[in-house]
């Protein structure tokens, strides 16, 4: 009996067309980051679960695919995010004197989403990390690099959204009773409900005042008296405003939006974070941010920042002609001289064609730009996609003399 073999939920195969686009994205990405001093690293497919889980939210550690190491009995986790792996790699192999370092990667990661009908579980992650650098100039350099890569991939009209994990974490640290609720409401941008909390009888007076004076003005994009905030937060907000201004100065075609109360999917972000979107794709196509505390979890206390491309939506929308090399098909009939077909194949391949030798019965299944027929007398006919005769040659040698 033949078994119906299916793939697990959220897992799929990728066809040649997708892979060509993926390779193109990688080529553009690595060309751009290499010229900016980034070196490529390859991280392990799986690691001890403790190492993988550092930097993930509690809920996200549930999404790591786990297994038991038959050699040691340790619990292992499949790679679910490359950034913590790079943090571990740098902390284990570099000292502060070796820094800064700039690293890039292209890996496949597995996120065991519970609702896997909705999202793929296997994700292509292509990104880079600048480790041992800090300050607004470095933030600008990295966002600018990300934006440049997207421009080269054919997405010039970008919206860059800048957020502040430092501000969000500060606000949440000041709340106790309403902390979880506020975090959920930030995530949904449900500022109406946050406003209701500031009037609620059950919320302690101190928290209501804080929501009214600090949270709501940020939520409604109103002017805020920075003096009421800690100096480190004041500096962050000034830096982010500077970042917005400079990005817009350098890239007049880019729209820059401040969304300071955005809650991120990873809890390792510590300061400025950013997303880049374009109107033609209903998903962020790049996101990243500063994670100044992550490396200290692995024993090296240095700042860092990185970003990753959201690869699948990019390759679904990329304007890349997969048939940039025209396809020539050599029709292979019964009893035909196969060695001649291969000679013709080599000839056209040298003329920058993709060439395939196809049996007559399969010709109708293929879209080609050039059809090559050989008759019993070894005469060669070239036809276009509409079967119109383009040229005729009496011998292979004659063909080789022609310019195609």
């Amino acid at each position: 009996m033949i078994k119906n073999i299916s793939l697990p939920l959220g897992i799929k195969d990728y066809s040649l067309d997708t892979i060509k686009k993926l390779d193109y994205v990688k080529e553009i990405f690595f060309m751009e980051v290499e010229t900016n001093g980034y070196e490529k690293v390859v991280t392990p497919l799986f690691e001890n679960i403790d190492s993988i889980a550092i930097g993930s939210k509690d809920d996200d550690t549930k999404k790591i695919m786990k297994m038991v190491d038959p050699l040691s009995g340790d619990v292992l986790g499949l790679r679910s995010d490359t950034t913590p792996q790079i943090a571990r790699y740098v902390a284990s192999n570099f000292s502060k004197e070796d820094l800064p370092t700039r690293l890039s990667y292209s890996e496949r990661i597995i996120r065991n989403n519970l609702d896997s009908n909705k999202e793929p579980r296997e994700i292509f992650q292509i990104g880079c990390e600048s480790i041992g650098t800090e300050g607004v100039v470095n933030d600008l350099e990295l966002i600018q690099l990300g934006s440049q890569i997207l421009k080269k991939l054919g997405f010039p009209r970008q919206v860059v959204t800048i957020n502040s994990s430092l501000l969000v974490n500060y606000i949440l640290s000041k709340l106790e009773f309403s902390k979880d609720q506020i975090k959920t409401l930030f995530y949904k941008k449900d500022f109406d409900s946050i406003s209701l909390l500031s009037k609620s009888k059950v919320v302690p007076k101190r928290e209501k005042e804080f929501i009214k004076k600090i949270v709501m003005p940020f939520a409604l994009n109103k002017k805020i008296k920075l003096g009421s905030l800690p100096k480190v937060i004041q500096k962050e907000i000034k830096d982010i405003s500077f970042l917005k201004q400079e990005l817009e100065n350098i890239n007049p075609e880019i729209e820059c939006v401040l969304d300071l109360l955005d809650v991120r999917d990873f809890n390792y972000y510590s300061n400025v974070t950013f997303d880049i979107s374009v109107s033609e794709i209903k998903d962020n196509i790049m996101s990243g941010g500063r994670y100044n505390n992550l490396l200290s979890n692995y024993g090296l206390n240095v700042p860092a920042m990185g970003f990753a491309l959201n690869v699948l939506p990019i390759i679904e929308n990329i304007k890349f002609d997969t048939l940039s090399q025209p396809l020539a098909v050599i029709e292979l009939k019964n009893n035909q001289d196969i060695s001649l077909a291969y000679k013709i194949k080599d000839f056209f391949a040298n003329q920058a064609f993709q060439v395939r030798i196809v049996e007559s019965k399969y010709i109708s299944n293929i879209s080609y730009q050039l059809l090559i027929k050989v008759d019993k007398l070894k005469k060669i006919k070239l036809l276009d996609e509409g079967n119109n005769l383009l040229a005729r040659f009496d011998t292979f040698e004659e063909l080789s003399e022609e310019e195609i």
Binding site: K189, D190, F191, E255, D259, V278, S279, K282, D283
Partner: protein, 207 residues
């Protein structure tokens, strides 16, 4: 501010008339929608309106088929879609309740198994699991009130505006699961790429 390019998904059914009224008050002419109510797509005032089944609206918005939508918070919670919910609207007000047959004693204690008939399996399941109970969810698509009366379930989880249908069917409300109202929801990427247009639309809805 022109709203060119925004696609707005509206929930047909319970809140549809109130939604049209709100759009009208916000300065958007909705006459076309009333006249051609069997159509599903309408172009008006720089907006494209999609007329959708309520439970589908959050999905349309999450996947970007619509930039934003107006739908009841019951459908949003049940869908568990990843969307922004920036504005609560002051209509479509009702409650999601747990109700049982009058005279029936329902114990809410940890570990207890309970049969629940509902159109909202995710919300109902979460409600009872939060109480450490073991719900057996029976998904029904309509006339949910019938289930406890014929012994199909112990309780129902359903929405009610006045409680009239509940009372008429010899049921009583045991608890409120959540208060419900219509909400303006937005796709996460459209919120960024159409920021000014969506802000303009949401402030006119808020007026």
């Amino acid at each position: 501010m022109a709203r060119k390019g925004i696609i707005l998904a509206l929930a047909k059914g319970r809140i549809f008339n109130d939604t049209l009224e709100l759009l009208k008050k916000s300065g958007i002419s909705t006459d076309k929608i009333k006249k051609k109510s069997r159509e599903l797509i309408f172009k008006l005032d720089g907006l494209t309106i999609l007329s959708c089944k309520p439970s589908d609206v959050p999905k349309y918005v999450e996947l970007g088929a619509a930039d934003c939508g107006i739908v009841g918070s019951d459908c949003i919670s049940e869908s568990q879609c990843d969307i922004y919910e920036p504005i609560g609207l002051n209509f479509g007000l009702c409650k999601m309740i747990v109700a049982a047959k009058k005279g029936e004693k329902i114990e809410f204690k940890a570990g207890k198994e309970i049969k629940v008939a509902t159109k909202y399996p995710k919300i109902a399941s979460e409600y009872f699991i939060r109480r450490k109970m073991s719900p057996e969810i029976i998904y029904l698509n309509g006339s949910v009130e019938l289930a406890p009366l014929i012994g199909l379930s112990d309780v129902i989880v359903d929405i009610t505006e006045t409680g009239e249908t509940i009372r008429k069917n010899n049921l009583k409300v045991i608890d409120t699961v959540m208060n419900i109202s219509a909400k303006f929801i937005v796709n996460k990427t459209s919120y960024r790429t159409l920021f000014k247009h969506i802000q303009s639309l949401s402030s006119s809805l808020k007026k």
